[in-house]
């Protein structure tokens, strides 16, 4: 009896003592620390808000300045210097679509192939495989205008000598975004666990059968995300196209191999933007709205795809 009676107040005493000590400790925490903590959090939030404000201001400005020119004419009419109110983007839109089609045709097989080689076949202790790897990572960060120089010296002139045709522009853009596709595909392929491969090989499948039937299907969502992001990058690139002959004033529908020249959406926007008259500025912003809508849709779809099909093994 006496023991338990004594035990209750003693444990209460202990709790009260611990609480008092903790509170004293917390009170001891210098005021400066509390304030510094809050100020730091506020600064971080401010940084995020500035970045978001920049994005928001860009979107709002484009809509405020370009909305008045949004009409079906924008998509169906060719550009015109004489009648800015009737001018549109038709050849540029068609040119961009053809450029992108060429990029996809080249980049999907070669990009996935290179990624498969590096992840599944290459022995990374060999110097040449490490060279390929370093090389891909570096290519992903080479300035786009350098690809323009490559396209000018190697594809338009020089060894391939194709001339200033749309297909040359398409090849230039494809080389530009190829490293992006390789890097994204490698990550998707690496995410497939080894147990899947070993299970397939143990059942007697060959290496290629394993890749085709197990590894590739499992990594398709990741690869598709990478391809979409790469295509949206290619769609928005201007600088390399300036060098490989996206001649700015094209009033006809461009075709891939015609020597008459071609145009693309961002180049046409750039051309309108350079003109001092207000009407052309409005047209440039209308073109930007169209591009932003398309690119935002593509990027959101890619991110949705990544989140939706992200497999947890």
């Amino acid at each position: 009896m006496r023991g338990s009676e004594a035990a209750v107040p003693r444990s209460r005493l202990a709790v009260a003592g611990a609480r008092a000590t903790t509170l004293a400790m917390l009170r001891q925490q210098p005021r400066g620390d509390v304030i510094r903590n809050a100020a730091f959090a506020a600064m971080l939030l401010l940084a995020v808000l500035i970045a978001l404000a920049g994005l928001l201001a860009l979107l709002i400005q484009a809509f405020a300045k370009g909305a008045s020119a949004l009409s079906p004419d924008l998509f169906t009419n060719p550009p015109s210097t004489a009648f800015p109110d009737k001018a549109g983007f038709r050849p540029a839109i068609i040119g961009s679509l053809e450029l992108i089609a060429g990029v996809v045709v080249f980049v999907v097989p070669v990009g996935i192939g290179a990624a498969l080689y590096l992840e599944e076949y290459a022995d990374s202790s060999r110097w040449w495989n490490r060279l390929i790897e370093l090389n891909v990572q570096n290519l992903a960060a080479v300035p786009s205008i350098i690809y323009g120089i490559l396209g000018l010296a190697f594809i338009v002139r020089g060894p391939l000598d194709l001339g200033f045709i749309l297909a040359a522009g398409s090849m230039t853009l494809a080389l530009l975004v190829l490293p992006m596709v390789i890097i994204a595909s490698r990550e998707a392929i690496r995410a497939v666990p080894d147990s899947i491969r070993q299970g397939s090989l143990a059942l007697g499948a060959t290496k290629w059968q394993t890749i085709r039937a197990q590894v590739l299907p499992a990594s398709i969502p990741g690869i598709a995300t990478g391809v979409i992001l790469a295509v949206s990058r290619a769609l928005g690139e201007t600088a390399p196209l300036l060098l490989v002959g996206a001649t700015v004033f094209v009033t006809f529908d461009p075709t891939p191999f015609s020597p008459d020249g071609y145009s693309a959406m961002p180049v046409q926007i750039f051309n309108y933007a350079l003109r001092p008259q207000e009407e052309f500025q409005t047209l440039a912003f209308a073109g930007i709205i169209v591009m932003l809508v398309v690119l935002l849709a593509m990027n959101s779809f890619a991110i949705w795809l990544r989140n939706r099909y992200e497999q947890r093994w």
Binding site: A47, A114, I269
Partner: protein, 307 residues
């Protein structure tokens, strides 16, 4: 039979192996082609213009008679824009990264990160035009203190407008990659610091940040490389006045804008202008190459520590 052997030689498998290797090698060929296409005309250029003039003179006046080819003027133009862009983008990008990895609740993080990445997907023409028609008149000229550094009023182009545009473009690169680096720091390090009584801000700046430093530096180096190589924003907002200055409110010409402006249209292959484009391109390529390799190395070292 003592060894397991395939029933057939499996030529198909070997062919596929070869085909995939060719895809990999194609990327090496791209680099080789870049170097080859730069080298030829660059050598031709140095036969006409002495290297001492190119590398040590500040006069970039290709259109004058006699022309001046002192590349330092446009190299400094590029560095001017890059410097101010980084002064804007590094604090903002790192602040956003620390917020994302240490402070943001999971839901906020999951929406905020893609939104910031959208910023990275905006075409640079759009950012350039935004810098010229919004940032320049409504932000810089509205806030610039009077005649400071020569004043900002009445200038149609300036380095700072391009800088802010580029800063906006590279913020998501720094934020996203640094956030990746900081989230990869093991929880145990944070909890150890909390157990020793560190505040949240102390943990973020004193433990997580140094632990992720190589990844963070890599993201910044990559951002610098992007800024140096960015073309459309400097073409639209930076002007075309080759001028060795770090003054942010001066109009300048960057290496990329020289290339873009000069090589547009059908310039004759053998002309000195044509060759100068490649000489400038070579300088640009090697500048970014050095930074890219540093960045790749740093990321690799970081991965080795925590993976």
């Amino acid at each position: 039979m003592s060894r397991l052997e395939a029933q057939s030689p499996r030529y198909g498998e070997k062919a596929i192996h070869g085909l995939l290797a060719v895809c990999g090698i194609l990327s090496v060929l791209t680099t080789t082609a870049i170097v080859i296409s730069l080298i030829g005309p660059t050598i031709g250029f140095f036969k006409i213009v002495p290297a001492s003039e190119f590398f040590f003179s500040f006069d970039w006046t290709p259109q004058f008679e006699p022309p001046g080819f002192g590349v330092l003027a446009i190299v400094i133009g590029t560095l001017n824009v890059t410097l101010w862009a980084m002064l804007f983008a590094i604090p903002i990008g790192l602040g956003a990264a620390i917020y994302l990895s240490e402070y943001a609740p999971p839901r906020v993080r999951k929406t905020l990160k893609p939104v910031l990445e959208v910023l990275a997907g905006i075409p640079t023409v759009a950012i350039g035009l935004f810098a010229l028609t919004f940032l320049l008149p409504h932000l810089i000229q509205a806030l610039w203190p009077g005649g400071f550094l020569g004043g900002a009023d009445g200038k149609p182009f300036m380095a700072l407008a391009a800088s802010l545009g580029i800063g906006l473009m590279v913020v998501p690169i720094i934020a996203s990659l640094s956030d990746d680096a900081m989230t990869a720091v093991p929880r145990g390090l944070r909890e150890g610091a909390y157990a020793l009584g560190a505040t949240k801000a102390r943990v973020a700046t004193g433990v997580v940040f140094p632990a992720a430093l190589s990844g963070i530096v890599a993201s910044i180096v990559l951002a610098i490389s992007r800024a140096v190589g960015e073309t459309m924003i400097v073409v639209i907002a930076g002007g075309s006045n080759p001028h060795a200055t770090f003054n942010p409110v001066e109009s300048i010409q960057a290496m990329t804008s020289y290339i873009a402006v000069t090589a547009t249209g059908d310039i004759p292959t053998g002309s000195i202008d044509y060759k100068s484009v490649f000489a400038v391109g070579t300088v640009l390529f090697f500048m970014t190459l050095v930074m890219n390799v540093i960045s790749i190395r740093l990321v690799r070292r970081f991965r080795e520590v925590y993976d």
